[in-house]
Every structure is written in structure tokens, then in C-alpha cells.
């Protein structure tokens, strides 16, 4: 039979022996000195890559969060500034308005006072003038009449009445 007689298909016991020996040596030496450290290194690297990818993702998320936080804070600060500025403006306006009101009031008061003072002085001066005019007119009249009129109360009342009629305000 072709299979049996062929040197290709016969299994040599010696070749089998050597190949078992050589392959087991190859296998054990590689397993011990090559595959173990190589696979460990590859695995370690894989895990490191996985870990660093995960932490990078985490860092990215953290950063995004921080960024949005920052933006929020910034927005808030801006709003607060607006509010503060607005308040300040209001206060200022109020203060100015108040001050203005007070000032006008005061001024008015002063003017009022001055007016009253003036009025008072005026009436005082007028009454003085009244008196002088009265005494002058009495003197003049006595001189004119040549008759010394006694300064009785009745006479003075009479003179006042005349003076009022004269109405000094007219001049």
C-alpha cells in the first residue's frame, strides 16, 4: 500500500522522540522566560492604558464641570455687579434728590426767615416813622396853630387815626 511504503507517511519513532523533546523544551522555556513576562507586560500596559483613558475621561468631565461652574460663577458675579451698580445708582440718585430737597427747603426757610425779618424791620421802621411823623406833625401842627396842644391820650389816638388814613404803604 502506498501509505505504508511511502517514507512521507511513515512516523519515525526517533523523529517523534526528538520532536516531543524539542517541542516540550521550546514550550517550557518560552512559557517560563518569554510568555510570562511578555504577557504580563502587555497586560500591565493594557490596564495602564485603560486606566489612563478612564482617568483622562474623568479629568475631562471634571474640567467641563469646572468650566461650567466657572461660567456660572462668572455670570453670577456679573449679575451681582449689575445689582450693586444699580443699587449704587439708586442710592446716589436718592441722596442727590434728598440733598436737593433739603437744600431747597433750607433755602426756602432762609428766604422765608429773611422775608419775615425784612417785614418785621419794615413794620418796625414804619412804626418808628409813624411815631416821628406823628410827633413831627404834632409839632408842626402846634407850630401852625400856635397853640400848644397838650399831649393827651385822646390827641394821640386822633393822630394815629389820621395817619392810618394817610396809608403810608402808598408811597
Amino acid at each position: 500500500m502506498i501509505l505504508a511504503s511511502n517514507s512521507l507517511t511513515s512516523v519515525g519513532i526517533g523523529t517523534l522522540f526528538w520532536s516531543v523533546l524539542i517541542f516540550s523544551l521550546f514550550f517550557f522555556l518560552l512559557a517560563k522566560f518569554a510568555w510570562k513576562p511578555i504577557l504580563a507586560a502587555i497586560k500591565q500596559r493594557d490596564e495602564m492604558i485603560k486606566g489612563s483613558l478612564a482617568s483622562a475621561e474623568m479629568a475631562r468631565e471634571e474640567m467641563l464641570k469646572l468650566q461650567s461652574d466657572n461660567e456660572a460663577i462668572l455670570r453670577k458675579a456679573r449679575e451681582e455687579r449689575e445689582v450693586i451698580l444699580k443699587e449704587g445708582r439708586n442710592v446716589r440718585d436718592k441722596l442727590i434728590a434728598e440733598a436737593k430737597g433739603k437744600a431747597t427747603e433750607e433755602a426756602e426757610k432762609i428766604v422765608e426767615k429773611a422775608k419775615a425779618g425784612i417785614e418785621r424791620e419794615k413794620t418796625k421802621a414804619l412804626s418808628e416813622i409813624h411815631e416821628q411823623v406823628a410827633s413831627l406833625s404834632v409839632e408842626i401842627a402846634s407850630m401852625v396853630l400856635g397853640e400848644k396842644l397838650s399831649k393827651t391820650e385822646e390827641q394821640e389816638k386822633l393822630i394815629d387815626k389820621y395817619l392810618k388814613d394817610v396809608n403810608i404803604n402808598k408811597n
Binding site: I2, W18, V20, F23, L30
Partner: protein, 360 residues
């Protein structure tokens, strides 16, 4: 899987096809020598091809014009009952010389084998020696193993040196292959739970086959060019390793499946158990035949194409031969990777089948 076995069958058919016409030619040739008196020896394609793809005790390099051959004579180690171990170089046995009562047969029933001869010069079948010689395949295999060991031990050194940095140098060349085996072959079949246990074996077997396949494609110098993975003893060794690893790592569920297949009535078990046992053996057997047949077939085709030059006895055939040989070599390069991959893949698959969890 069927396709591979078919390829193997074809390669054997191919061999037998070569046997007959060449033998016919030989007869014709001998007639010619008789008529023409002196003529050069007729080219024997069969022994040319088979001689190159099969094992031998010497590493043939070239044959001079005068018929003398230049070869490396490899160590012969014999064990014979009674006389014990014998160690010498195969040069002592060249040209059917007798040495220490041994002879290397070139023809006949024991062609290519070392036999014991008795005083009359006949084959002594009672005292046949066990042949543990360092043959061509052994030397080729040793070369491949040394290259593999050097490659991977220096690789592991470079990992130790560079720590867990990015792969560089030899790492960037081999790491993708290792990762491919891990991620595409071992993990999908065996799963995360157990895969680490089998990585060393599967990686070793993959690279052992791959390096030997590739070295077999390089024709010169020794230890390149030996048809190691196309040797049945070598593929049997690998298949046996896979077989024993499967049996050793077999779970309870796996053994139960063989000896007490769940769901099968008891009266069927006497039939089922042998069937399962055949299945147990046929898996590694298929691995053995597939690798052997694929690699040998490739070598035979390449050698046949080269033999065409000598069959036609014309130098003008050589461009055609060389073109087809280059084409075949490219194909064989693919096959070298493919067969290493297939062997590893199927080993992983068979191992995973033995790791079945028990279902209650």
C-alpha cells in the same frame, strides 16, 4: 475542515500519480541504456521530490556531475537490544556501507531506514535497532526552536528593559501577532475566565508551526529548507500535546459528556461511548493530518514544478517553472501563516469544548 482533509488526500493522490508514470519511464530508460549503450541516468522525479520533502539521515546539498553528492552527514544514534547505544555520523553508512553491523537501506522494504545486518549481509529482522538519529527534520526543528527561543527571550528582555512603555523595535513587530492570538483566537474561544492558562501553550504552538513553516520555505542553507511541519511525526507531536492538554484540562462536564452523555438512554451508551472516544481522538488526528498535508502538498508542488525542468531536460522550461514556483511560494507564505493560525484556533476551540461548565 473538510477542505483541508481533501487537500491532504489530493496530495497523496498526487504522489501516487507520480509513482506510476515515472516507474514506467524508468523501464523505458533502462531499455534505452541497453540500446544506446552509454546514456546519462534518467531523471527520477519521484525520488527527487520525495527525497526533498521527507526525512533523511543526511542533509543533501547538491549532486555533482559525476554523481557524487555533497551532503552534511548528520549524527546517527541507534539503540539495539543487546549492543546498547551506538553513536556515529551517517557518513559511515553512505552508499550502503556497513558499519558496526548496520546498514542504511536505499531500496526495498526498508528504504531510508537503518537496519541491522547479519553476517551474511541480510537484514536481521530480529535485532532491528531503534533509530534516535538527529535527522534532517530534527536539525531543522532545532534550528527553528533556537531562532524562536532567541526571538522571544530577547523580546521578553526588551519588555523588561522598556517597562510598560510603547512597543518599539522587535516588540512592534511581534506584539501585534501575540495580541492577535490572544484577542482573536484564544479569548473568543476559551473566554476571559480561563484563557490565561492556555496562552503559553497556544502561543508556543503557533510560533513553532509558523517558524518551521517559514523556514521550510527558505531552501538554503541548512537548517532552512527542511519540511519539518510536513513531517507526520512532528505534526503528531503537536497533536498529542493538544490531545493531552484537552484531557488534562477536561472538566467533570466534559467527562460526563463522554461516558454518560446527558439525555441519552442507558441502552444507547455502549454505542455512544465508543463514538465519543473516537471523537476525542479524531480531533487531534484531524489537526495532525491537516498540517502535515497542507505543508507537504505545498513542498511537493514546488518541487514538482522544479522537477519539470529536469523531466523536459531543457533549460527553456525554467522561466515557466520559476514563475510558477514564485507564485507557489507566495501562496505557501500565506499557507504558512494560515496553517499555524488554523492549528492554534482549532486547538483553542477543542480546549474550550473540554472546559464546558456542568449544567444541572
Amino acid at each position: 475542515m473538510k477542505k483541508r482533509i481533501l487537500t491532504g488526500l489530493f496530495s497523496i493522490l498526487f504522489l501516487s500519480a507520480f509513482n506510476f508514470p515515472v516507474m514506467g519511464q524508468e523501464e523505458h530508460g533502462s531499455q534505452e541504456t541497453a540500446t544506446q549503450g552509454q546514456s546519462k541516468e534518467k531523471f527520477d522525479a519521484n525520488s527527487f521530490i520525495i527525497g526533498h520533502v521527507s526525512n533523511s539521515h543526511e542533509w543533501h546539498i547538491l549532486t555533482k556531475k559525476n554523481g557524487e553528492s555533497v551532503a552534511i552527514y548528520l549524527p546517527v544514534i541507534l539503540y539495539q537490544k543487546g549492543t546498547g547505544l551506538h553513536f556515529f555520523f551517517s557518513g559511515k553508512l553512505a552508499h550502503e556501507h556497513e558499519y558496526k553491523g548496520f546498514r542504511l537501506e536505499e531500496e526495498g522494504e526498508y528504504a531510508g531506514k537503518i537496519v541491522a545486518v547479519n553476517a551474511a549481509g541480510e537484514v536481521d529482522t530480529d535485532n532491528m535497532p531503534l533509530d534516535f538519529s538527529m535527522t534532517k527534520m530534527v536539525i531543522g526543528m532545532l534550528g527553528a526552536v533556537l531562532i524562536g527561543l532567541w526571538l522571544f527571550i530577547s523580546l521578553s528582555r526588551s519588555y523588561k528593559r522598556s517597562g510598560i512603555s510603547y512597543p518599539r523595535g522587535i516588540q512592534s513587530f511581534l506584539e501585534p501577532v501575540i495580541c492577535f492570538i490572544r484577542d482573536e483566537v484564544v479569548i473568543p474561544n476559551i473566554g476571559y475566565k480561563h484563557y490565561e492558562r492556555f496562552m503559553p501553550y497556544l502561543l508556543s504552538v503557533f510560533f513553532f508551526i509558523l517558524i518551521n513553516n517559514l523556514m521550510g520555505l527558505i531552501p538554503f542553507p541548512p537548517p532552512f529548507g527542511a519540511n519539518v511541519t510536513g513531517n507526520l511525526a512532528v505534526t503528531m507531536t503537536l497533536a498529542l500535546f493538544t490531545f493531552f492538554i484537552i484531557q488534562i484540562s477536561g472538566t467533570k462536564g466534559y467527562w460526563r459528556h463522554i461516558f454518560a452523555t446527558p439525555g441519552v438512554p442507558v441502552w444507547l451508551l455502549p454505542i455512544m461511548i465508543p463514538v465519543e472516544l473516537i471523537g476525542m481522538v479524531s480531533k487531534p488526528f484531524a489537526l495532525m493530518i491537516r498540517l502535515f498535508a497542507n505543508i507537504t502538498a505545498g513542498h511537493i508542488i514546488v518541487m514538482s514544478l522544479l522537477a519539470l525542468i529536469f523531466i523536459f531536460d531543457s533549460i527553456w522550461v525554467s522561466p515557466v517553472s520559476i514563475f510558477f514556483v514564485i507564485f507557489m511560494d507566495c501562496l505557501e507564505l500565506l499557507v504558512a501563516f494560515l496553517q499555524a493560525y488554523v492549528f492554534t484556533l482549532l486547538s483553542a476551540l477543542f480546549i474550550s469544548l473540554a472546559l464546558v461548565e456542568e449544567h444541572h
